[in-house]
């Protein structure tokens, strides 16, 4: 492991300054997706299918077009059609089909037409003038029913090569992995438990609805302002869907009011651009909350079968899982991710996992923090908990006994480098929470969780100003305080104060391609690129100092924000601070900047362990979370407050998913709860203080040791809470959410 140049002593990294965007956000100065306007702007609105599955026989837009305030109406015919290719290769086609329905409406809320008018009210009224003739088709929304032989077919030919013969056409991808011999392993076990689990789809629940302002001329040149986790993917996708050149569309990311994976694709952006092209005016589109629930990307629902064998001493002798994920009316449900993550925390001799990607008449799923992993962890960690209970073993000790470590062959294939799972478990065991007494009616749950983390394409530029301040341009929208982390890392390399660095999320015309802010990659990859861009600038600063001293560049080093001779032999010169060099840069060779671009590959996997106490009201089935502790390996916490925020956010969203959040479909296939009143995310008073412990086992793949922290935090909560609730209620809960009616019914069934 080449760690010699890795920094471990820090001046700025690890401190907790205020975030640079904080003042703008608390004063209302920050501009979010819906805050942008343009002269001559029109307002768009989208007509959506009321049917879960229907053939679109005819769309008559003539009355809407005749409305005096309406300037454009678009349907699928106004988009560039990408030739249909089944499976993964046709993702642009899938996105287009999702953005505007073609031959069929595939789910309740699927867009079928859109208008642009001079006012938002007129646009809304004009939608009522569009006549759509539907031929309603049989529908299916449940994952198990969608796989059954008699299920309605969402789309023939959508399956890729991986799907075994004989499966229903709604099964579109298949994953199988593992090692060893599970049957032999089960034979060695003292106890084998086999059980089935179900989770419902949940929404990321970002507070800011999707919003954009698009302008596209007939010359194929356009501008787009939108709330997104990745404006380059928005640029690329919109260009493809509208048949224009990518570089002719400049996309600027607004401030973002939450994304959690749900803003990694496009929904309304191509529609706004298509309307704009037709009307030759800028068009603003803002979703309502109901549209967000019905027609953006919730997570998958899941149905899972788990079988685990354990010896009396707690050793897992074999583990096997089948994970069926429903991802809406398009390929993409992360059945493979669920399968690969489910047993990843453990050092297993015999393991086998199977994942299915299944289509149903629901909106196209999108990423949601560690997509696929939380549901698998729920199923697996519930069975481990039950084994511990039946064998009378401590749940943390059992996890420690089986924990993966450096060199372990992961359940999904590769061998782990240095990882921090054991350290999180040891911290859990030592934490006062783990030994605190419980009151009657309370239960305690434990779970581990794993996420891969990601690198991705990254391009960063840093420019120094004459006064010695620095502007840093990154291409990853700031969804978790990343501007603060970038500024800290740049400050660390340059040796200038945090406050002297302004971090901008650059638009698509300013930097090369940047992958989306997803995969917990931003602090890792944009951070790595920031460090290297700053080092690039430092090299130039050293060159200028060397030239001024008349010594070779390699005789100069950078120390505490100054160029200094690298040793006594280099000569005796006073240190030259950064601002001294930049003050003269115009006459010593011109502007000084640094740049770095790459696709970093050393993201470093991440593990966490959660401890939860829950109390169940035996008369009503209502659960209160009374105590919660998140312990997670961050590699190195650049800005600990925002690391803790990620941990707490994962736990809070996990509490919602575990207890009350769910997509509820009626018999008619329509979403029943498309408002926050009935889609029950936790309110502040539902949550206890969520304690955090940051474990730091440096990632060998990052100069400062960073591992991504954004996603792992939502992997353990479902299982940890289910284990706590099951202990408190005295009955194993196998279905999420564990809403009061479900718990009360389980209590009654249990007598």
């Amino acid at each position: 492991m080449a760690l010699d140049d890795r920094k471990s002593e820090f001046t700025f990294v690890g401190t907790r300054p205020n975030r640079p965007d904080g003042l703008d956000k608390v004063t209302g100065r920050a501009k979010f997706g819906a805050d942008m306007s343009a002269p001559g702007m029109l307002h768009g609105a989208i007509l959506r299918s009321p049917h879960a599955h229907a053939r679109i026989v005819k769309i008559d837009t003539s009355k809407a077009e005749a409305h005096k305030e309406v300037k454009a109406v678009v349907t699928r015919a106004d988009f560039a059609d990408v030739p249909f290719k089944p499976g993964l290769e046709g993702e642009f086609w899938n996105v287009l089909e999702n953005v505007m329905a073609g031959e069929k409406a595939l789910y309740d809320g699927h867009a079928v037409a859109a208008v642009a008018a001079t006012s938002a009210l007129a646009a809304r009224d004009a939608l009522k003038l569009i006549e759509v003739e539907y031929e309603v088709l049989p529908h299916v929304t449940d994952v198990d029913k969608a796989m059954a032989p008699d299920a309605p077919v969402i789309r023939e030919g959508a399956a890729d090569y991986s799907v075994p013969e004989g499966m229903h056409p709604n099964v579109v991808r298949y994953h199988e992995s593992g090692h060893g011999d599970v049957e032999a392993g089960f034979a060695e076990a003292d106890l084998v438990i086999e059980d089935s689990f179900v989770t419902e789809a949940t929404h990321q629940g970002y507070i800011e609805p999707h919003a954009c302002l698009g302008m596209l001329g007939n010359d194929g040149k356009g501008e787009l302002w939108c709330t997104t986790q990745g404006h380059w993917i928005a640029q690329k996708t919109c260009a493809a869907l509208l048949g224009i050149e990518t570089s002719q569309l400049r996309v600027t990311a607004s401030e973002i009011g939450g994304g959690f994976g749900g803003k990694t694709t496009v929904f309304i952006e191509p529609v706004a651009l298509a309307l704009s092209r037709k009307a030759n005016r800028p068009v603003k589109l803002v979703m309502t909350r109901s549209e967000v629930f019905r027609a953006t990307g919730p997570t998958s629902s899941a149905s899972m079968d788990i079988k685990i064998g354990m010896k009396k001493d707690g050793t897992i002798s074999a583990a096997q899982g089948v994970f069926r994920l429903q991802g809406g009316a398009f390929p993409g449900a992360p059945g493979d991710m669920t399968a690969m993550c489910a047993f990843a925390p453990y050092n297993l001799t015999n393991v086998k996992q199977v994942g299915y990607d299944v289509m149903a008449n629901r909106p196209k799923q999108a990423a949601y923090r560690a997509p696929g992993a939380p549901m698998g962890a729920f199923a697996v960690e519930s069975v481990i908990d039950e084994l511990c209970k039946k064998l009378g073993l401590d749940p943390v000790d059992v996890r420690l006994k089986n924990a993966a470590h450096e060199g372990t062959k992961a359940s999904y294939g590769p061998r782990y480098e240095r990882i921090g799972l054991v350290e999180t478990l040891e911290a859990a065991k030592a934490h006062p929470h783990y030994s605190a007494p419980l009151k009657p009616g309370q239960g305690r749950g434990i779970s581990c969780g794993f996420w891969f983390n990601h690198g991705g394409e990254t391009s960063v530029s840093l420019a120094l100003s004459e006064d010695g301040s620095a502007q840093l341009m990154v291409g990853t929208p700031d969804i978790g305080g990343s501007r603060a982390s970038m500024a800290l890392m740049a400050a660390e390399v340059l040796g200038i104060p945090y406050e002297n660095i302004r971090v901008t999320i650059a638009d698509t015309a300013t930097l090369g391609y940047n992958d989306v802010s997803h995969g917990s990659r931003v602090t890792y990859a944009s951070g790595l690129a920031t460090i290297k861009a700053a080092k690039h600038a430092v090299e130039k600063l050293c060159e200028r100092a060397a030239a001024s001293w008349g010594i070779p560049t390699d005789a100069v080093k950078w120390e505490n924000g100054c160029a200094v001779p690298s040793g006594p032999n280099a000569g005796d010169f006073d240190p030259r601070p950064l601002a001294d060099i930049t003050a003269h840069m115009g006459s010593t060779g011109g502007p000084i900047s640094g740049h770095f671009e790459a696709t970093p590959e050393g993201a470093g996997v991440s593990f966490g362990t959660h401890i939860v106490d829950a109390e169940v009201d035996p008369e009503t089935g209502k659960t209160s979370i009374t105590r919660y502790t998140v312990i997670q390996d961050a590699g190195k916490a650049i800005h600990p407050t925002y690391v803790e925020g990620q941990y707490q956010g994962g736990a809070a969203q996990g509490i919602g998913w575990a207890l009350n959040e769910e997509y509820i479909y009626g018999e008619d296939g329509r979403l029943q709860n498309s408002i926050f009143l009935d889609y029950r995310i936790p309110v502040a008073s539902d949550l206890p203080m969520i304690d955090t412990v940051i474990v730091e086992v440096p990632n060998p793949g990052h100069p400062f040791g960073v591992r991504g922290v954004g996603e792992t935090g939502i992997v353990p909560p479902l299982a940890a809470i289910a284990n706590a609730v099951s202990h408190a209620a005295g009955v194993r809960m196998r279905q999420l959410p564990m809403s009061p009616p479900r718990i009360l019914a389980a209590l009654k069934e249990n007598g």
Binding site: E619, T620, G621, L659, N673, L677, V683, P740, L744, A745
Partner: protein, 288 residues
Amino acid sequence: MDYHSPASFAEASALAANATGITRFLAGGTDVLVQLRSELVTPDTLIDLKKIDGVSDINSNADGSWTLGVAATGAEMSEHAELGRDWPGVVEAMDLIGSTQVQGRATLTGNLCNGSPAADSVPAMVAAGVSVTVTGPEGDREVAVEDIPTGPGKTSLAKGELISAVHIPARGENGGDAYLRFIPRTEMDIAVVGVGVNLRLDGDTVTEARVSLGAVAPTVLLVEDCAKAIIGSTLDDAALDALAAAASAACNPIDDKRGTIAFRTEVAGVLAKRAAKIAYARAKGEQA
């Protein structure tokens, strides 16, 4: 859409009587405006009552009873110490509705006229024996709260009729009321089950009782069998069990996104017991 802001209830009634299409009265607007924005109900005529003199008043009468204007808000009720001392159940029920912002606008009358079986203030008002003045083309009449709702979103108010005042009876001696609702969260939610209990004691014995259930039938229910179960008792375990059984027996709920039939039926009994204990403690002058 026609918007009116009449200066009297008689004028409001005349406007409504002569209007065509959908008419809505606007007080706090926490239902009307939300329904308008979400395109559930787009009124042809909107009659704003807030310009009528005295509509935000909370008045105590010489006989100990209370008269509330139709635009008196939840926040104003919660800040009214005497009203809260007399009728904590009614005030707390109203206070459960919505957020702090909604409390600054929401009214008892609006909650009643929205016709939701899950309205929080309605079971508390029914238990308390609250009545309302209905102003119409034929003049005024006084109607018990339980006679206003006739089904989800429906009321007994005829065309041209509107509620012009709310009357809460005198508390009197040795009385107490309480309202509890079940929601899966801790606030900002809608009742899956609601129970209002109002009772009076002679010593330790319950002499009068009114028990009301919300969200378990098409309208809020006044359940006489629940009252019978505890009248004459000292609210001992047997009486409480009988109360719970009567409450569950009165339920005629639906399965929906908010709860199941079995759950609502069971929890109605649980909450009836819990609310009765609070009302009993209050009647005895204890903190509850």
